[in-house]
Every structure is written in structure tokens, then in C-alpha cells.
Point group: C2
Chain length 251, copies 2
């Protein structure tokens, strides 16, 4: 069955990131992402498989066939739809969900983070340490961008990821209860000298500009990771991994 024209233009808009924010759907491509969605009870609304991969993905197709509209396309059409140079041959269009945060031990907050791969990796690492959610402050890349979803390797289906537009009121709502720690190359304290405690909100800033002034003033402390060699800084997703693993071992 051919893909309806409306679905095709929806996919194109999602690929370009047009209307990411208002769109009610997002793209998840490749088996890992789709499988993690299904395992979390988060089913795609539509599934598209290239014909030469139907057998390879037969168990996913069987699992979804009664719940989801499935389209089988030829190689050329898959190439057009895919977000990747080498299409894995399976792509799901997932509905967004209303997600809210409940209380927890650790929240990871990103402030002005622009790189989708970095945000995806941060979501994956937050999931790996068992964090309770990722908060994406305004000015950051949309967490439903297909590159973020891919970088998360499906972790976006495992832990709550929420966007926050009202930065000030968000911090006002957590500041009495949570230890709020910012991270930055000019942080005053080394990350291993902090008395980590739960509940904790850990903030990572933009790759280029670090933390915004608006966010900095809510931080109880700003910490840094020391650099011993000639690199100017660490990749933000690497920094997040180093600090999160320090925290979960220490607390």
C-alpha cells in the first residue's frame, strides 16, 4: 500500500524539524529505537518498512500488525523518507505524550543545549544511571528532534523528558527541596569535592556559551571538571557522564 500523501508530507516536516514543537508526532528510525518504544508500551502510530527488510523485521511487524498502520515501501521510497544516509529500513512515526515529572532523586537539566547528538547521549546516560527525568529548558534543541531520539538509543521512551519554557517558575518550584548544581568550565568547585546529596538537579549548559545568567542564579554551587592536558574543554555529554557516575557512587 502506498504511503498517503499527508503522511509523507508529515514525515518530511519532521525530518526538517519544521514545526517540531507543535507537531504531535516524532520520528524514530532503526530497530533499537522502535523496539525500545514497543518495550515501553509506546507504540508508533505508523510503521514503514522497506520491502527487502520485511523478513528481517518480521517479529516487530507481527507485534505491531494489529495496532499500527504498516506500509511496505521499495528501497527508493525508503531512501526518500529516511533521515539517514544508510537507511536501516524501518521507521516509526510516534505520537508525543503529555509527560509530567514526579519527585525523584536526580534530574538532569539542559540549558541552551543545541546539538541533538549531545542531548540524545545525555538522555541515554541519564537513563543508564537511573535518573528520574531530563528537563530541557527553552533555547535548547527539541527533544523530539529525530537526531535526539536516535542519539538516545531509545532512552527517550524510558525516562520522562520534558520541555520547560518558564525557567524562573520552574526553578522556584524546586529550589527549596533540591540541591541545584550547575556545571561549567569556570565552576568554583571540583566535581569530586562536592557533598552530593539527593534530591539533586544537575544542570549542563550550551556547548558554546555555558550556563545562562538566568539559570546560574538558581545554582547552589557551580562545579567544574579539571582539565590536565591541552584540550580547552570536554564534550558536554562526556562531562554529564563523568559527573552522573560520580554522583551515583557517592550518594
Amino acid at each position: 500500500m502506498a504511503i498517503p500523501k499527508a503522511l509523507k508530507s508529515r514525515i518530511n516536516a519532521l525530518k526538517l524539524g519544521i514545526g517540531d514543537t507543535r507537531e504531535r508526532f516524532f520520528l524514530g528510525e532503526g530497530l533499537t529505537v522502535i523496539r525500545e518504544g514497543i518495550n515501553s508500551g509506546w507504540f508508533p502510530r505508523w510503521l514503514i518498512v522497506s520491502e527487502e527488510n520485511v523478513e528481517r523485521y518480521s517479529s516487530v511487524i507481527a507485534q505491531l500488525s494489529s495496532k499500527v498502520e504498516i506500509y511496505v515501501v521499495d528501497k527508493k521510497e525508503m531512501k526518500e523518507i529516511s533521515t539517514l544516509e544508510t537507511p536501516p529500513g524501518i521507521i516509526g512515526i510516534f505520537p508525543k505524550r503529555e509527560i509530567s515529572l514526579s519527585d525523584g532523586n536526580i534530574f538532569v537539566i539542559v540549558d541552551g543545549l543545541q546539538d541533538p547528538g549531545n542531548l540524545g547521549t545525555i538522555i541515554r546516560t541519564a537513563d543508564a544511571v537511573g535518573a528520574n527525568g531530563v528537563v530541557v529548558l527553552k533555547g535548547s534543541i527539541d527533544p523530539y528532534n529525530h537526531k535526539v531520539v536516535r542519539g538516545s538509543m531509545g532512552s527517550i521512551f524510558h525516562i520522562p523528558v520534558v520541555k520547560v519554557e518558564e525557567v524562573e517558575s520552574f526553578f522556584n518550584s524546586i529550589k527549596d527541596k533540591y540541591l541545584i548544581i550547575g556545571t561549567s568550565s569556570y565552576g568554583e568547585k571540583l566535581y569530586y569535592d562536592v557533598s552530593w546529596r539527593f534530591p539533586l538537579a544537575l544542570i549542563f549548559g550550551s556547548e558554546a556559551r555555558g550556563l545562562s545568567k538566568e539559570v546560574e542564579r538558581f545554582c547552589d554551587t557551580i562545579v567544574r571538571i579539571p582539565i590536565f592536558g591541552k584540550a580547552e574543554s570536554l564534550n558536554v555529554a562526556v562531562a554529564c557522564g563523568i559527573i552522573l557516575y560520580e554522583v551515583v557512587r557517592k550518594v
Copy 2:
């Protein structure tokens, strides 16, 4: 002055990664990478700047003008040459160098690593902890691929990065002196339970397949990072950061 045709086709080949291995040059795009090259005394052979950015990059141009062939191109031509969707407007074509490793405290080794961003980030992190070199075993992405160079944020100019084709003879040459630790999700020991000591060779495997059998048999121990949540694994560059920072604090 127009870019000579031969240089243009050289750039195209480098962009596509054709002949990466035999090419005597590599691309470094953007101010950070070029500045780190210059600061390390590693000058580009050619520098191309888009005309609307000549003023912005005037100090780099002044620094290089007596040593390097510089071409100023229009926006359209820069767009054609650039490896990036949004060209920063400056690109250098650097000569490769014969690099050899000398003895040191820490070497990071990658085995079958395919993702250029991950390798670039690993080189950057190795530089940040002051490691003595990065060894790229056969079957991995070429470290001079432009995406690796970019991901390294110029760290490829700071520390020795060498390719090794003869895996067995390489490990035979280090195994009596170095503690050789592999990392893998199925490692037998937790990374914080290891008695780390220098000199150390730390190996990270392919994103998809982990360590190769050939490499595993040279490992004194294989370590893992525990996963507390639902993520299947960590990104390899994040794992590298977590372990390297553990090592430099413990030894």
C-alpha cells in the same frame, strides 16, 4: 584568486573520505580546529576563507599569510567546499605527519570504532586528561576523517594519534610493560574496583560489537561500567570519559 582545480578535487575526495588513508592531507574546518593547529605549530598547506569572513578571521590570516597559500572565495563556492551545512567560512587543508608514540603513562586504544564523532570525542577526552596518545587499530574509522578532526575540537593536533595495522605485534610490544585493560558491557570487573596503575593501555571497542577476540586475549582484565536504569549501554565516548577520569584520580 580562484582555487586551482586540482585542489578542489583534492578537497572533494577528502570530504567523501575517498583515499583518506593514502591521502597526504586532511581537512580542518572552523576557527577552533585551525587555531589549535597553528598553536601546535601544525600549519595548513592551504587556507580557504569566504570573502564575508575575511575580517572576522583577519588575525589567523595575518598569522598564516607568509607561510600558507590563502584563497578567498565567495559564499557559494565556500558552501560547495564546506563539510558542514552551515559553513563557518574558514577551512584548512593540513598535511599529515609521521607520528610515533613514545613511552607514557596512559594510552587510549580504539578497536573497530566506526563513528567519527565518537572517535573525535575520545581524542578530545584523552587530551583533556593528559593521555600520551590514542592508538587507532585497523577496522576503525580513519582518524584524519574530517568529522573526527572536527569532533576532536583540535585535540588531534595536541596528542599523538597513530594508526596500527599489525594488531598482534603491537600488543606483543607493550604487553610486558603496560597494564592492558579492555572495556565492555560484559566486563568481569567494575571499573572502580580495578587497581589502576601506570603505564596503562585502555581499550574501547566498536559501538555495535564491542572488543574483537583478537584484542580481548591481550587484556589483563575487562572492566564494565554498571547500568542502573533501562539503557542497554552507554555511548562509547561517554564510557571513555567516565573511566579516564576515574583513572587519573586514582593513580
